[in-house]
Symmetry: D2
Subunit: 313 residues, 4 copies
């Protein structure tokens, strides 16, 4: 490698320096606040070029290189950037958040200090209904009349739990024990530091439409308000090559290829061979999760679904 | 290295096989249950000897080698052993537990399934008082009369929170949202898998007398009921070289040496130089945490405390 | 969750127990040898069902669940399985291997013991040529005549380096320094322990045709000889949903959809808009890596390439 | 917690900004060069105070808090700082370096580019002799006359290996294979990024007198040239509470206490009970590593060794 230059300045991102310390509100009383960062788009390129040495003179440009790294999951250059946030989150969402192990965390201690006097409140129109098709999700909301009753009950529960907490403290009970019956929705705060590679993993999972609304709201804020300003080339590549990507399994790829080359009969044969076309007592195609996901992908790709064509005939 | 033998059997620990699947009760309704394990004392020795190659013929015996590894923090051979547990823990304690990032976890999902219908209950005599000297701890308990009232209030809080949860579910509210006001003390369950090196780190922190009672109860059970049976040589070395060890800082070591060689005046001079002997308005030694910790260590080591001798004169 | 059963036995995989300790040869003098394992296909299902609780009664079967977990990157249940191998590898390949950080390693120490007296040898017909299109790869081989000369030179280099090593040791030079000029191809040995999730990440990268031949040979052996025997349902899902999968970027998916719905003009417009269709001085499509990768995917999917159709007209 | 301030500036350390980009030379042709950093002493305090909330108003000062965190291994606040270095290191030392898994790395690729044309050279007076007492170490050096011969042989080996490498490349052999017989001492370069907690772990192991000279030279440079400038309060606490600390095992602490309280007979009894005082055929105390380490600690602490007193009688 060539001789290193004898002086450097730290990369700064003006668009990010502008929002340092600003609390982006999330949910009814939460926030995400940028504390510090390290690196930028150029720092990723620079680290990648250490790997490639003189060879990269030929790699066209920074954008092309970043997209290449993203597409081929060359993840180490993205680890060269770090983000440090101050967040305020309901403990219930924090329980999901903290499962991302590749991050550094300093959380507000309710052993040491009095618990934050706030718990997430739900508006009358914001009580979500259990999803029909997806055991893990929600869809639609309760009508606002019924919702209002649940919101009142929620407020009362919070008040009672807080009152009991205060009474325990007043009686001298240790903070570490007094807190035990606070609601899961109680807010906590933390410093959370993570590198960009692991942050994108977090965002890919938590910006997904199947992620729970609460944590999704935080992920959306981090992604669109902070990461998009910080590393715009990475953000674009992330949207194109991760969030917006479609993955076809070996069989799905074979079905698409058969459709194009040999017509739907060949594609049908592949699906049948994989056991996707079993029928129930009523002669309908039996539920089959992998087949159903394939159908969604075919629809997105504007391709006909061979077993539905067949079904119609 | 010599030729590897052409056949092997997996190490088994009879004392551990006996307790596979047995739930050791913890707290009022929790447990720790051994699901599987990998390796034993001999597997650690075997891995260490890969590193040392032919050279280790000279290392006396397994016990000596394991103690050497523990003393000198040669941690990689301990990573060669794994433990898999099924645990049932109040979410409040689980929040601390999960901060140990070097473990694999599958936790019961209250998005997917109905929350476990149990929350940790506190007996009338088990309400702990806030510690005076330690902002993070507890000491002593509330008298049982007052405690009984808090226990009744606790039961009522649990009942109300559970009733609200059930009403939400009955109205069709999504599980992921309905759970939001369950108390932190609600039980959760998880499979938790960790290697022995990281497990010892967990145990060293969580068996410490300053750890909160609840998580300490789990750590004690894991350590004394399971690890002690599994890898007895490691367990002995852990008690001797980690849990029971005393660490002296550079200054503390210098003070001890000065005491022995030059008498308490020399030791006093060192303490004064470090700013440990400042006095408050009343002429008393001002509070100084580092000095106070030194005093405890001197007492444990049966050595005189130079500034207290001085103080008395 | 229901009451846990009061006894368990550890999962065993008969097909794996048969090969415990057997050294599968790799390269000229390397091997991969299974030392121990933890878990099996059923253990993954069991861990996943802890998460899903009672809810999973509805999930059809183990195979379906494992494929679902693989497809949707629910990775934690795969972490519940561990593999421990004894490997013998040229240090040059080991340098790549060790970059996978989520594993536990005990490597043979050449500070402590005499370096292994073997370095990877290259047969006359096995000198690979630098790839034209890929700066990181190789394709084709040198003719055997020229190769034979290089193989003789290689043997001589090894002999000289080893002789110098021995002379240094004989003169009393420390092992840690004497080894400094051994060739990178010198064999080392290690115990390597990794969980199945991280192992699949290793295999996905190192079984890839772009991985270097040497490490690919180890990955192929681990995958096809060991993992396939150990967790056959996982292995099948891995081949279908990871190794054999095709990922389409947002733009590629849009191009495919445009092709089907609106014909190639619409697809061409998308490509042009993305800057994929710039032409060089000679009027040819300029090199564009992202477009070239799209072309390969279209070919695999049996779909026409809109700019090549266009080009022909 | 109180409301966050609405603006922030990133912490900068003037003493570190001065050396950004400067290559500190290490060994004959290596270097360590600071590329970027995140955080400072104050950032650690700030993160710790998130945990402690309002409570920390009472914690005296930054220095006291940092020393407290270091002493009690509260490691998470130290993770809030990051260092990014560009290093040039012989591959042989890099093999040890890279074993620290909690770091991010982009290494120069010799698949992609021509290997760096430099290997570590040894001066005539710098050939170290194998240590007598420690199988892993070195002590003393070869006389310069004999050393000069080894230095000539080393140069010749390097030249031959490099010539073979060049001939292979000239014949079209792939870079990934051509490099296979370069000496282990060949220099490589990398970007290496690590948080301060993990960096201290690296430094504690690699600044240790038992660490190999080469990697110790890098660790000393990183510690004394960079970390000491960056976080002076942390560096002081690290020297006092980690590098300069003495750890006494449970038994060692009991022996010291017995010495002070009950005299050497009681201490001797403890040692005898632990099996430390077995004698060999000649009636001498048999070698016993744990006892020998205890002797060193007693000497450092200025305390008499009970079995040596006994021995003399």
């Amino acid at each position: 490698m060539s001789q290193p230059p004898e002086s450097l300045t730290r990369p700064r991102v003006a668009a990010l320096d502008e929002i340092l310390g600003r609390a982006f509100p999330v949910l009814d009383d939460g926030f995400v606040r940028l504390i510090d960062y390290m690196g930028d788009d150029a720092a990723i390129v620079q680290a990648a070029r250490v790997s490639y040495g003189a060879g990269t003179k030929k790699v066209s440009d920074d954008r092309g290189l970043i997209r290449y790294l993203m597409r081929h999951r060359h993840t180490t250059p993205f680890e060269m950037c770090e983000l440090k946030l101050h967040v305020r989150v309901p403990m219930d969402a924090w329980r999901q958040w903290i499962r991302h192990r590749s991050a550094s965390v300093n959380e507000y201690s309710t052993r040491y200090s009095i618990a934050i006097d706030a718990a997430q409140r739900t508006a009358a129109h914001a009580w979500r209904l259990q999803a029909e098709g997806n055991r893990q999700g929600s869809e639609g909301v309760l009508d606002a009349g019924a919702g209002a009753a649940f919101s009142r009950q929620e407020a009362e529960l919070h008040d009672r739990a807080r009152a009991a907490y205060q009474e325990r403290l007043a009686a001298g009970i240790a903070r570490e024990q007094a807190r035990k019956d606070l609601p899961l929705a109680t807010y906590t705060e933390a410093y959370w530091k993570i590198d960009l590679h692991n942050l994108m993993h977090f965002l890919a999972l938590r910006m997904d439409p199947h992620a729970q609304f609460e944590i999704r709201s935080y992920a959306e804020t981090i992604g669109r308000q902070i990461v998009a300003r910080w590393v715009p080339l990475v953000w674009e590549a992330f949207l194109d090559h991760r969030l917006g990507a479609v993955q076809l399994s070996r069989l799905e790829a074979a079905i698409v290829a058969a459709l194009g080359r040999d017509g739907s009969a060949a594609a049908l044969a592949l699906a049948a061979q994989a056991g996707w076309l079993a029928r129930d007592a009523a002669g309908e195609l039996a539920r089959h999760r992998e087949r159903a996901e394939c159908e969604e992908k075919l629809a997105r790709l504007g391709l006909p679904c061979p077993w539905h064509i067949d079904n119609d005939n």
